[in-house]
């Protein structure tokens, strides 16, 4: 069992890592709650593009036609990305004044069977957008993301130190004991310990994957400078194609090169996710796991020929796996409800931790060690 000095050290770590991050973690848990049901809320509130009512089995039209429709609505713009909804027959087209533009981008979705526009309100406004931005970067871009990542690291340290401190607190108690017939503080101490320890695995996984997600921008930059640069090196210095080959043909080539996979999105030549000379077709698998693991196929945008295709490096795979494990969107609606309950329990653990800290400030220091606490209050 831990020595008193060791307990004090872990208590110090637990107290300060928790105190620094709790307000932000409460914000993340509260904003994360509606985000668990993002798709459902967007559907119910009519903010999601709806495919057209067409007879079942209606085949998809040419993606080139959809791209032409998108460009006709934004004359003078160029296409940056084309994305494919994994659940509904919808194709998203991102256009901008130039391929490298980072602002003034327009996103529109089209029915894959009719090539007609599937109207939807802009995604970057409304309640869910505010929740999303607060949760992801506090409206502060990359510095906000990295700051929340640091808070996540403190939270992980608080979880580990909390698990260590569970032992001295539970030395003389049976698992699950909640002493509700004593002081409110003792009741919430027991609940804090119980709720924290039974949800520890889930909270650790969501916390660690949250930290990894905050590193998405540096991870993408690392991939661009590493693997993408290697794949496009033979084309360095070559002029951009004067005429782009058919996107439908490029998609067919990518499908032949990666059997069993489907396109997730296409980065046009000159964008950050491709070279000046290639369509980068990012393929995805069909299982909950492989559908997150993207595999880039580079297609020469002038000839339509496949030039390279590789599995992404380990750090990108780590990011892809972290996303479902953080969002809880890979096991149906019931999993989302369980995710929400676990999120609410985490809010209770954070809130009870704050309450215990405030209540304990009036307690003499010699009574704060776990053993002394029980002797004095129990």
């Amino acid at each position: 069992m831990l020595r008193p000095e060791t307990v004090r050290t872990w208590s110090f770590v637990h107290k300060w890592t928790s105190l620094v991050c709790t307000a932000f973690l409460l914000l993340l848990c509260v904003t994360g709650l509606p985000l668990i049901f993002y798709e459902e809320i967007e559907h119910l509130s009519g903010r999601h593009a709806k495919p057209a009512d067409v007879p079942p089995g209606t085949p998809a039209v040419s993606v080139d036609l959809i791209v032409a429709n998108a460009l006709s609505a934004h004359s003078g713009d160029v296409v940056q990305f084309v994305s494919f909804d994994p659940h509904e027959p919808l194709v998203g087209v991102t256009t901008a004044p130039s391929r490298a533009a980072q602002s003034d981008q327009q996103f529109a979705q089209f029915d894959a069977r009719t090539a007609d526009l599937a109207p939807a309100p802009p995604f970057d406004e409304g309640f869910m957008w505010i929740m999303f931005k607060l949760h992801v970067d506090l409206f502060a871009g990359l510095p906000g993301m990295l700051f929340l990542g640091f808070m996540g690291l403190l939270f992980v340290a608080a979880l580990i130190s909390g698990a260590v401190l569970y032992a001295p607190f539970m030395r003389k108690l049976e698992f699950g004991t909640v002493r509700r017939d004593r002081s409110p503080r003792l009741k919430w101490l027991d609940l804090h310990n119980l709720l924290g320890i039974v949800t520890l695995a889930w909270v650790l996984v969501v916390g660690v994957t949250g930290v990894i997600n905050t590193l998405s921008t540096p991870i993408v930059a690392l991939w661009q400078r590493g693997q993408l640069a290697q794949m496009t090196a033979p084309y360095a210095g070559q002029p951009a194609p004067a005429h782009l080959a058919s996107l439908d043909a490029a998609l067919a080539t990518a499908r032949r090169a990666a059997p069993g996979m489907e396109p997730s999105f296409v980065a046009y030549p000159g964008t950050d996710f491709s070279s000046a000379h290639h369509y980068a077709v990012f393929m995805r698998g069909s299982t909950p796991l492989t559908s997150r693991l993207l595999k880039p196929a580079l297609i020469d945008a002038e000839t339509g020929a496949l030039t390279d295709m590789r599995d992404m490096p380990w750090y990108a795979v780590l990011l892809f796996i972290s996303q479902p494990l953080h969002f809880g969107d890979y096991g149906g609606l019931i999993m989302k409800f369980i995710w929400a309950l676990l999120d609410i329990i985490t809010i209770l653990v954070l809130g009870s931790g704050l309450y215990l800290w405030r209540a304990r400030r009036g307690t003499p220091s010699e009574l704060r060690a776990p053993g002394a606490l029980r002797r004095s209050e129990g």
């Binding site: 069992m1 698990a163 569970y166 032992a167 539970m170 030395r171 003389k172 108690l173 049976e174 698992f175 699950g176 004991t177 909640v178 002493r179 509700r180 017939d181 004593r182 027991d190 609940l191 119980l194 709720l195 320890i197 039974v198 949800t199 520890l200 695995a201 889930w202 996984v205 299982t287 909950p288 796991l289 796996i321 479902p324 494990l325 890979y330 096991g331 149906g332 019931i334 999993m335 369980i338 309950l341 676990l342 329990i345 209770l348 029980r374 129990g378």
Partner: protein
């Protein structure tokens, strides 16, 4: 070591069950999702029981039935071995 296992035995089981649940739903759909739901929901049982006071109420009733009222306070603070003995006795009464 025995004391450590007594303290962390059940929490470790919850950690294993939760981890299995988190991973199963990643591997596939259908039945794997169902098993994942069950596995992830298992840790919610003691959590909700603790919140609504189900476990505490049961323990208090049993102790009151088993021994004199004066022993109730003592039971909450007694040594681990006495608590284990108490539970063994109660389980026998249930059986």
């Amino acid at each position: 070591m025995k004391d450590l296992w007594r303290i962390f035995g059940k929490p470790v089981l919850f950690i294993i069950v939760s981890t299995v649940g988190l991973l199963l739903a990643l591997i596939g759909d259908g039945m794997l999702d169902v098993v994942a739901w069950v596995a992830l929901a298992i840790p919610l049982i003691p959590a909700i029981a603790g919140l609504i006071g189900w476990g505490t109420a049961r323990r208090t009733v049993r102790v009151t039935r088993w021994t004199n009222p004066g022993a109730l306070d003592d039971a909450g603070r007694t040594t681990a071995s006495r608590q284990r003995g108490l539970h063994v006795t109660l389980n026998r009464n249930d059986g």
